[in-house]
Every structure is written in structure tokens, then in C-alpha cells.
Symmetry: C2
Subunit: 312 residues, 2 copies
């Protein structure tokens, strides 16, 4: 018996045939073409599911469950919101089961990635973990006793939208000062652009060719690694924010482990060392143990593995 | 069979004989005299326990468990920190059981009050709730499936120390910008004192006799109720902060209910109406259900009831 995990992204639909211990046996992809209505997108999700099964020598009878990670919010089998795809109240479970009548599970992509790491990745050894995707936004996945925890109404785990600097930067959610504005890749890029304006002759400004459009988290990290003082200042300020955000997670639910994923986490040990060094400054109970901070290890596979694990 | 709940405060030790459904049968108190070493304080806790039992016609044989709520942190039967009492690594369980050999449970006072409300108070009807004490500090009690949740290392639930305005007001914890600095009674008083300086002829300033030492949350609330514009401005700013703090709790773990207790909650419906009116502005998923906000109902009894319920 196998499971199917589908990672529904803004660019690609990726489906994988996954074993119960989280190994991907076969993997297929097709473009999402998100500008289309939801119906043909879901048809393509069904098609890649069938293709992944048949190409790996399995039939629908071998299938225990299907899981889907969506960049949005799903409640009771319906995708309530999926902003990047323009989805609103899409009856995904009903539509899918009309084609393949197997149990279907849907969850947010950050939750799904957190579950993947908790089942088959870096946090596999602990019951409780929090996964942070440090990307364009800041997503959170809370895992308690190896299950995704989204609360009583399914609206929890939105860690990017904790108020971090009340009345601060305007957020895409309509509120000001959300953690996402400071501790995501977008937050680091904003700091980088500000520093480029005040330090136009810095290595950072030169590397970006004085153009905000060229500013990326990777460019900042690369320049900080190369000891450009302006990039180092930007990176330190970013760590100052991220470490405080991590400390808030600890003071709130104190998981066994906090896992860093998403684009910024590609900075690897350079990021991890900086976070681990800064964090103790902010810890409330300074003499007591606190969660370990680790890098995600499953990379892009997390979306498929975690989606498949939704049914496990 | 009955349980004993002990509320260890900086001023009084209160012990109650409590039934399994959270009713206090008998209640005794003695001064804490916190300036003493911990040993005589614990002796007095043991003495009031015995007195409460005998005065209510019970013997130690009738006793199922003893619970203690402390204004600090307890781990494995040891009170690791209890700043107001000057306690550090006090072996409370061991000392207590040498005198009365019954199961002893110890937890933080905000957690205990949250448990009391969840077992016998306003949140009795829901599995998951978060209790906020809005007092000198801001304490949190997270209840998941009717149990106190303090995380993997026991350092969670410190909701007063979430970063709320990074690099903002200095906190007693050594960090800047903690939620406690803005959404506690102390936070409201600070706003009141600032407003008194800029509006020296306001009703608020007159009511405080132009003296910061007279500024209290009650005075601000009373003046706001009396429509003094300065006090209303202060109160609105406080609600702006508190509602954002509450929204962060929702975005994090989305409980069924958030319960407001502590000194500021004595403002009653005036506070509750204001919070409920402000909250939807900050909610992330504006069209979805979110937790109800309620006032604590057990008042001072929460400490005894919740402590007793630790063993239930």
C-alpha cells in the first residue's frame, strides 16, 4: 500500500507516490498554470495522481490515501482561501473523490512541510515541533504529538501574523507590524534596500547594482559571508528580528524543536549559527533548557512527503 | 474524597478543601510573610492544609491530592523560580510529602487560574482555552484538552513575554518590547502617566491629583467610563494593544475561548465590549469563526480551585 502526496504550488503541481515511512518512490510534475479556473487545475491534479501511480506500477487499489498541501487554508475538504491561485471555497475533496474515491486530506503547505520534517526529516525524533518557512512570507506549522495543530477553528499556525512591531510596517494582511514583515526573506530584502540607500558605496549596493529589483536574501547573505560591513549589518538586524520571533514561539508553546525552512534557510549553517548565537539573549528562563533550532532537511520533497503523511 | 488547593501568593497563603467538580467546601488563609526563608512558609502551607481538612471534618485519608499554584515556575516538584518570594530551587514536593504523604502537584498561578476556569468556570464548556491575567504583569495559561500546556521544557505559556514592539519598552525580563509592557495594568498605567503629562488639565490628571503614584488601571477605566477624553484616549490605546495581543494568540493556537482575568478584567463589560469591538480589525481570516472572548468568573477562588484540579 502507498499514499499519494500532492504539492500544489503557484508554479507546479508535484505528485509523489510515498511509502508509509515517508520515502518517495516516484515523482511527477506538471505546470499549475494558476491563471486558469480551478476546475482544470484540479483535473490536472487528478491526472498527475493517476500518472504517478501507473508509472510506479501501482493501481488505485494500492492507494491508502491522497494528501494535498495548498498555499492557503482548507477546512472540511474545501479550500477556503488560496490567494496565489485565486481560489475561494473550492470543493477539492468532493471533486477529487468523484474521480478517485480514496480518503483525501488537505492542509496548508507550511503545516504539510512541518509534518514532513516531523515524520521523515530533522524533527522525526521529537513529538512537538514548530516549522518556519522563511520565504516571501513567513509560514508556520505547529506539530503536537506528531499531528498538525491548527486550533479550534483551523485558523492557528499563522505565525507570520503575530504582531511583532505594533503599528509598524504595513502587512499584506491589512494589519501593521506582523512578524512576516521583519523575519521573512521579504523583510531581509527591505532591510537590504534601506541599507543600500544609506550606504550607496557598500559592497552590498554594488552587488545589487544600486537597484532594489536586484536585492535578494541570497545576495545579502553572500555579501555578509564576504564580510561586507553593510550586508553584515543587514544580516545582523535580520537575525535580531528572527531570533526574537523564535523566542516568542518558545515563550508561547515551547516545542522540542524549531525547524527553519524556506528560501532564507538556504543560507544553511551561516543562518543557523547566527540564530543560535543570538537566541539566548532573548530567552526568558535563561538557565533552563529550551528548544533546539535546526535546519529543514527535506527541501522541496517536504511538500510531497508531508501531504502523503496527512493520511498516516 | 476531596482535594486541597493552595494558592501561594506574595501576601497570603490560601488553602481550600475542594470537591472533584471544583466546589470549595472550606477555605482558610494565613499571611505569607514572604520575607521569611522558604522553610517556615512551607511549614505554614502544611499547617493550613491540615487546618482546612480538620475544620471541614475531613482527615488525610479523605484526601486524594494536593495542588499548589505558585507565582513562579515549578519543574518536577521543585519550584525553580518564584521571584516575589525570593525562592530558587525549593524542593516543595519533597518537603510537603515528608509531612503529608499525598500526591502533590505544583504549577504557575496563571496556569492554575486558567485550569480553574476551564474546569469549573467560564471555559468549562470547551476543551481548549487561553487564560490571560492582566495585572501587574501579563500571565498566560494555555489549556489544551482540559490540561495545562507548558510545552516540552515547561517554559511555555509565558504570553507576557512575546515580543510585541521589538526594541520597545524595557521589560523586567531584560528584553525590550514584551507584550506585558503594553497590555498589562502596568502598561495601561504607563499610558495614563504619559497622557497626564501631555494633558495636565484633563479629568484623568485631576483624578490622579497630577501624581503618577496615584495612577491606577481602575482610575483610568473610571475616568474613561465618565467620558473624560484623555482617559478614553488612554483606554482606546490600551485596547488597541490588548486586542492585537489577543489576535496573536488566535493566529498562533486558535483556542476555543480566550478568558480575561486579573486586575484589569475588573473593568468588566466595559473592557469586554471594547476588546470584542476592536478585535475583528486585526483578525487574519476575517470571514471565518474565531475564538470567543470572555471574562473570568471565579475571581480569587480560581487559585484554590485550579490548584486542587491539578490532581484531577
Amino acid at each position: 500500500m502507498v499514499r499519494i502526496g500532492i504539492d500544489l504550488g503557484g508554479t507546479n503541481i508535484a505528485a509523489g507516490v510515498v511509502t508509509d515511512d515517508g520515502k518517495i518512490l516516484h515523482h511527477v510534475e506538471t505546470p499549475t498554470r494558476a491563471e486558469r479556473p480551478w476546475q482544470p487545475v484540479v483535473e490536472d491534479m487528478i491526472a498527475v495522481t493517476k500518472r504517478a501511480l501507473s508509472e510506479s506500477g501501482h493501481s488505485v487499489d494500492d492507494l491508502q490515501s491522497i494528501g494535498v498541501g495548498v498555499p492557503g487554508l482548507a477546512i472540511n475538504g474545501v479550500v477556503a482561501f488560496c490567494t496565489n491561485l485565486g481560489w475561494h471555497d473550492v470543493p477539492l475533496e468532493e471533486t477529487f473523490r468523484a474521480a478517485i474515491d480514496k480518503p483525501l486530506y488537505i492542509d496548508n503547505d507550511a503545516n504539510v512541510a512541518g509534518l514532513a520534517e516531523a515524520m521523515a526529516g530533522v524533527s522525526a525524533g521529537v513529538p512537538n515541533s514548530v516549522f518556519l518557512t522563511l520565504g516571501t512570507g513567513l509560514g508556520g506549522g505547529i506539530i503536537i504529538n506528531k499531528k498538525i495543530y491548527t486550533g479550534a477553528h483551523g485558523v492557528g499556525g499563522e505565525l507570520g501574523h503575530l504582531t511583532f512591531i505594533a503599528d509598524g510596517e504595513m502587512c499584506t494582511c491589512g494589519k501593521r507590524g506582523c512578524l512576516e514583515r521583519y523575519a521573512s526573506a521579504t523583510g531581509m530584502i527591505r532591510l537590504g534596500c534601506e541599507a543600500m540607500r544609506t550606504h550607496p558605496h557598500s559592497g552590498l549596493a554594488k552587488a545589487a547594482n544600486q537597484d532594489s529589483a536586484n536585492m535578494t536574501a541570497k545576495l545579502i547573505v553572500d555579501q555578509a559571508k564576504a564580510n561586507d560591513p553593510t550586508a553584515m549589518m543587514v544580516f545582523d538586524q535580520y537575525i535580531h528580528y528572527l531570533a526574537q520571533g523564535i523566542n516568542s514561539i518558545i515563550s508561547f508553546i515551547d516545542p522540542d524543536m524549531i525547524v527553519l525552512g524556506g528560501g532564507v534557510s538556504k543560507a544553511g549553517e551561516f543562518l543557523l549559527d547566527a540564530v543560535r548565537q543570538a537566541l539566548p539573549t532573548y530567552i526568558f528562563y535563561k538557565t533552563l533548557p529550551f528548544p533546539s533550532i535546526e535546519l529543514a532537511v527535506l527541501g522541496n520533497d517536504a511538500g510531497i512527503i508531508g501531504a502523503a503523511m496527512l493520511g498516516a
